[in-house]
């Protein structure tokens, strides 16, 4: 069977590195390096992943790019941290009205590192909300929402709303007095929207009163529905960032092409 043609660029660069080796170590290192390279090549030949990775990572960025531009990535890492800690908290959590509080007490007080991981999740949620607002402020004040990036602003606002929904649904889960009454109040606030409000409240509680399935409903929305949508939205957000590129800070003046400058004289 004929092999697919391999890309020449990066391949040749790697071969050049192999030439300056000490003679004694060369065979083992060559073998090790060769096996790594072979694995990557095997994958790349079938997926072209390296092209995608290059497209995503080695982008041209404008002059003046600074630390403020990392707020988006910081928000994404906060989300990653919430995902990982959340998945493992779910191993101990029991979304039943009679056992939820006890399961949280157990995972906090008895489970090895349970308090730490729960703390990461609890404080991480606040950090994520703060970061997402800082990221939004950066985008706003740098004018980075303007053409052609309006859609990315819209996706970002959807992500902000989804994040706040995560905060709201997650707040009920420890199921202590504070979370129960805060959710009671929160659902009532939702109900004050005219016409749809009353039905929205019934949907959130699964009935007119806080009932047997309300907690499970909040849990499913918190750990299955919203994270899935958020992950997909982050994918779209990143795709548009890579496709449209980032903007220069407003204090950087655009330099016109010297040839064009001469033309205008």
């Amino acid at each position: 069977m004929a092999k697919l043609p391999t890309t020449s660029g990066p391949r040749s660069r790697r071969e050049r590195v192999e030439t300056d080796e000490t003679p004694a170590m060369a065979p083992e290192r060559n073998k090790l390096q060769e096996s790594g390279v072979a694995t990557i090549d095997w994958l790349d030949e079938r997926t072209s992943l390296s092209a995608g990775a290059r497209w995503m990572m080695f982008r041209r960025i404008p002059k003046g790019t600074n630390w403020f531009y990392t707020l988006g990535s910081a928000t994404m890492f906060a989300f990653l941290s919430q995902t990982v800690t959340g998945v493992f908290l779910a191993m101990y959590y029991d979304p039943s009205a009679t056992r939820a509080y006890e399961s949280v007490r157990y995972l906090t007080n008895e489970v090895f590192l349970g308090e730490f991981v729960r703390g990461m999740h609890k404080w991480g949620s606040t950090v994520m909300v703060i970061l997402i607002f800082l990221h939004m402020a950066r985008t706003f004040f740098f004018g980075a929402y303007k053409y052609p990036r309006e859609l990315n602003w819209v996706i970002g606002v959807v992500l902000l709303i989804l994040t706040l929904m995560m905060s709201f649904t997650g707040y009920l889960l420890p199921f202590d007095q504070r979370s129960f009454w805060a959710t009671t109040v929160g659902v009532a606030i939702n109900g004050t929207g005219p016409l749809v409000g009353p039905y929205l409240s019934d949907f959130m509680r699964a009935g007119p009163e806080f009932g047997a399935t309300t907690l499970a409903r909040f849990y499913a929305i918190h750990m299955l529905l919203l994270p899935g949508i958020i992950a997909a939205m982050i994918g779209a957000h990143l795709y548009l960032v890579a496709r449209l590129g980032t903007t220069a800070p407003p204090w950087i003046r655009a330099e016109s092409d010297p040839e064009l400058r001469e033309d205008s004289k």
């Binding site: 009205a97 659902v187 109900g191 005219p194 009353p198 949907f203 806080f210 009932g211």
Partner: protein, 225 residues
């Protein structure tokens, strides 16, 4: 420059297009028909699992809660000038979370402005604050219901005396069976203490409020009250 209209050049039937196996009057090519069929099948298959799943999530919005009556004590327990707190179950099967305090007293013609009927020999007032749903408590010395969250105050009838609440405290229907007072379903009241189907806290029902915050299929007042 006018854009040429491709559609005019396109043959109307498969016979005109000289497609092999064409027959008289056939306007949709088989390729098009197959594509449409496959997309339709895919759409039906997706709907077949999405719609029932959504139905499951939204079902409780349309489902009527069963009517429950709960005994709270013999009728001589309850005076007509102050409230006796009793605990009732709003949602069965979930322990403490499903329970709520209800304040009960005997109907007092000199005090009460709610129209007397078979369901209010005893007045049972819900402890759910009508601002945002925190639990109010009755303070006997001042004859007021007071909410700890945002400072809602109600008079002895449950009418708003001060603070942010938008309507009087909800009540429960009561009846007496064999000398025992029973507390039934919840109902809401406007500021004139006229009965309405239960609304959530924060939803006014005076004037336009009763239309802006419609009653829900999941919980209604008893018919004819």
């Amino acid at each position: 420059m006018p854009v040429p209209d491709d559609r005019r050049q396109k043959p109307k039937t498969t016979v005109d297009a000289k497609i092999p196996g064409a027959y008289e009057g056939e306007t949709v090519t088989r390729r098009r028909f197959m594509t449409a069929s496959a997309h339709t099948a895919g759409g039906i298959a997706t709907a077949a699992f999405t719609l029932p799943a959504l139905g499951m999530a939204f079902g409780p919005v349309f489902e009527k809660e069963p009517e429950r009556w709960e005994a709270v004590g013999p009728s001589e327990d309850f005076p007509d000038d102050t409230y006796i707190p009793r605990t009732i179950t709003l949602s069965p099967g979930i322990g403490e979370v499903g329970k709520s305090t209800v304040y009960v007293r005997k109907y007092n013609a000199k005090l009460d402005s709610e129209v007397k009927d078979e369901y209010n020999d005893f007045v049972a007032i819900s402890s759910r604050c009508m601002h945002l749903g925190c639990p109010v408590r009755y303070v006997e010395a001042s004859e007021r219901f007071i909410c700890p969250c945002h400072g809602g105050v109600y008079d002895i009838e449950g009418k708003v005396a001060d603070g942010p609440p938008v309507r009087p405290l909800d009540r429960f229907y009561t009846r007496v069976r064999n000398g025992i007072v029973e507390v039934g379903p919840r109902y809401s009241l406007n500021s004139e203490l006229r009965r309405f189907s239960p609304r959530d806290p924060g939803q006014p029902i005076d004037g336009i409020g009763q239309y802006a915050y419609p009653s829900r299929p999941s919980i209604r007042k008893l018919p004819g009250t």
